[in-house]
Each structure stands twice: as C-alpha cells, then as structure tokens.
C-alpha cells in the first residue's frame, strides 16, 4: 500500500495558472501539491511555445513562454510547492469529511481539502495518427509509449516519426528487436543530430531499415498487425511486414479523466461561478483555459485573476474556523515574512 500524501490543495496542472495559484494560496498559508502529465512545469508555455514572445502580461511588455515560467517558479519558491511531474490524476473521489482523495496513474494517493483544476486545454497525450481502424490495434500491437523495453524483444517493429522519441526508441530497441524499420516522411529529422548519425550508421551496417513515407493503412487481424502500408512523396505505396508499430507524432491536448469525476462540463470546458471560480462540486475549483463563464477570455492574465479569487474561498475549506483578513503584499509585514522579504 502506497503512502497517502496529505495536503491542503491539490492543483491539477502546473501551467502558468496553476503556478500562480500556488502564490495566491501560499499568501494565505495554504500548502499545495501539483500534478502535471508533462515532464516539466509550465504547461503550454513550456511545451508549445517556450521561445515565442508573449505581449499581454500586465507590466511585462514582452516575455517568452519559458521566461514567464521561470519567473513564476521564482515567485512561488517561498511557498515550497511539491511537484509530481509525468503523472496524471486518473481518479478523484469525495471523502466523507468533505475533502477529496485523488489517485495518479503512478498509483500515488493524495488526500486534500480542495482540488484546483488548472489543466488548460487538457492533458498532453500522444497524438494518434488519424487512421481509420487504428483503435482496434491500440494497446495490442500499436503503442504510443514504451513502458517496458522487454515487451518488444524479438519483435518486428515499425517506428514512425522523426523526432527525438522516434530516434531514441529506434536506437534503444534496435539491439533487442528482431528488426526495426524507422518510417519517416522525409530524409530530415527533428531529432538530435547525434541520434540521427547513430541511426544512419546502423542502416549503413544493415542492422535496421530506414524507409521514407507516411503510413496510410494498417493490415492485420484481431488487433494484431501483420504489416503497414506506407506512401512515399513520389512513387507507389509499399508494404512493410511487422508485428508492432510505435507511432511518435508529438502531443495533443485531450480533456482526459476530468470528464469522469462528476463535474459538470459544457463542450469539454468546466462551467464555474465568477465569484470564486468553483465548479458545481463544492471544494473543486477550475481556473485558466479549462473553465468557462459568461465573457470568458482564454488569457493568462484572466487565469491569474481567477486564481486570486479562488484562493479567497479555498481558504475557508482549509481553515473553516478562521476569519480571513485581506492584506496587501506591499504593506503587510506578515505577508512579507511569508515571502521571505521582511
């Protein structure tokens, strides 16, 4: 039995809104744990546009996605938030005493007073090639991630894609698979040049195959692949015999398990009130891109505002008997002590 982590607030999503919520809650002595499916903090700012400039953060004329995340991490440091990256909350249940119990896909268990869903566009998940009928093969002979390398020993693999995931798994699985074929649209790769060099050396030595083209169809029966059909830019489609395919076509955002938690949804968004950004389930809040209300704008600054108001109400779930006096960081010595500046 795994140990249960007890915390005041569990924040789902460590993007800009989740991070700033740590700050607003921290000022009120509310402690946070954050879970994020990515291997890094920052959400879309880190995954989609780390180098792109953002021009609409109040008081900051221009900052990159990566820069904003770095600054937010600096801002929340005094509150010592605990991050659980590469994990997804898969189950959320109400406890008898008014709190919640959350379980991640790594079997980590949290007990908390409040849940803040700051999951943006949803969880980043591997993109499925939109091929008709692929569902039948998923989990049987088509896999979007490698959990255990041993599962692929002795297999005839087709690895599709040209980024680091595709190249890394090509190099890692080549020694144990019967045969690896790397299938990519063009003879240029996004992956690290060193990996590309190693892959090309293996091709040169006849130890694996590199084919150019895009998968157009899967062939097999009962979920077990017997081959894939690929089409090159020019020329006729061809077939590659294989028993397993690993497509690596990047990440996309999917709402994911949030839909199963008994929270009311509207078009894959979570309706909230605009006084506290609370969902229809008392104690579960939703801030940032994932919520909706009349006049909602998907702006980072709106998410910050939502986090500040959410914290005022969340406080009362954590400290039901205490009165909350509103204070400014500019003038309150007690807030400044929490920030480590007084």
């Amino acid at each position: 039995m795994t140990e249960t982590i007890k915390t005041d607030v569990l924040i789902i999503g460590a993007g800009p809104c989740g991070l700033f919520a740590v700050f607003e809650l921290g000022l009120l002595d509310v402690k946070c744990h954050l879970v994020d499916i990515l291997d890094k903090v920052g959400g879309q700012c880190a995954e989609l546009y780390p180098e792109k400039p953002i021009y609409d953060i109040p008081g900051i004329p221009e900052i990159s996605g990566h820069g904003l995340v770095r600054q937010l991490m600096e801002q929340v440091r005094p509150f010592d938030p605990q991050f659980h990256l590469n994990e997804m909350v898969v189950q959320l249940d109400k406890l008898g005493d008014g709190g919640f119990r959350a379980v991640t896909d790594a079997d980590k268990v949290f007990e908390c007073k409040v849940v803040v869903i700051a999951a943006g566009g949803g969880s980043f998940q591997p993109k499925r090639p939109p091929m008709p009928g692929i569902e039948a093969y998923e989990g049987k002979s088509v896999f979007y991630a490698v959990r255990k390398m041993e599962d692929f020993r002795g297999k005839r693999l087709v690895i599709a894609g040209g980024g680091d995931s595709a190249l890394d798994w090509t190099l890692n699985l080549q020694p144990i698979a019967e045969r690896v074929t790397l299938l990519h649209r063009r003879d240029q790769f996004r992956a690290a040049p060193d990996s590309v060099k190693k892959m090309k050396a293996l091709v040169e030595a006849g130890k694996m195959d590199l084919r150019l083209g895009q998968v157009t169809a899967l062939e097999g029966e009962g979920g077990m692949l017997s081959g894939v059909v690929a089409r090159p830019d020019k020329g006729e489609p061809y077939r590659i015999d294989c028993d397993t395919m690993l497509p690596f076509f990047g990440l996309t955002m999917k709402l994911g398990p949030v839909a199963d938690w008994g929270i009311r949804l509207e078009d894959s968004l979570i309706p909230v009130d605009t006084a506290a950004f609370e969902t229809n389930v008392p104690g579960i809040f939703a801030i940032g891109d994932i919520n909706t209300y009349p006049g909602k704008l998907k702006l980072i600054l709106s998410g910050f505002h939502e986090g500040a108001l959410m914290a005022q109400k969340a406080y009362h779930y954590v400290y039901p008997d205490k009165r909350l006096v509103f204070q400014y960081t500019t003038s309150s010595t007690s807030l400044q002590k929490k920030l480590g500046v007084a």
Binding site: L48, G121, K127, R190, Q214, F249, G250
Partner: protein, 106 residues
C-alpha cells in the same frame, strides 16, 4: 481586401475576404471555414491548420520554413503542396489564393 478560397474534400468552395498581414489560418477561423482547427492558435506548434495549396499558387506562397516542415511531420497525408495555413501571410500578391482543406486534421 484580398480574397481566399477554401475548398473542402466534398468540393464545396468558400471564398472569404481577409486583411493584408493576417494569415490564411486566421481568415479561415474568422469566417468559420470548416476543416481548419488551429489547436495551438497559430504558434507553428501543431499541425492542425494543414492545407494543400493549389498548384497555380505554390510559387507565390513559397515553400515551408524548416520549422514548419518539422511541424508538418505531425500532419496527416502530407503532400508536396502541404502548408500550415498559420504560416502563410496574406499579401496583395495572394489575392485570389486557392487552398484545399484535408480530409482530416491530425
């Protein structure tokens, strides 16, 4: 204002007016043209605004940048005339541009 025509896989054609300096993706979204999703909002960070540029216009729209080519790796049924519509800036030269939307976005 330059006009852009979007043709879907059922050969339905939609012509919209657009502004110089905006992108073909923005023209599609502003006018509710189906078949262009633009999940990332135009950051060249996904491949869901994929279109096929009509052969006659390929020279004027030019070739994808290396970053755009990288993103096209994530597209579905990518062809030599494939572009990400968020990366095609509208100019006077593109007045009358014709693009086709794919059977599905990746």
């Amino acid at each position: 204002m330059p006009k852009i025509t979007f043709i879907d896989t059922a050969d339905t054609s939609r012509t919209v007016e657009t502004e110089i300096g905006s992108t073909v993706m923005e023209a599609a979204l502003k006018n509710g043209v189906p078949g262009v999703e633009a999940e990332c909002g135009g950051a060249c960070a996904c491949a869901t605004c994929h279109v096929y540029v009509d052969e006659e216009w390929r020279e004027k729209t030019g070739a994808p940048s290396p970053m755009e080519e990288d993103m096209l790796d994530f597209g579905y049924d990518v062809r030599p005339n494939s572009r990400l519509s968020c990366q095609i800036k509208v100019t006077n030269d593109l007045d009358g541009l014709v693009v086709r939307t794919p059977v599905r976005q990746a």
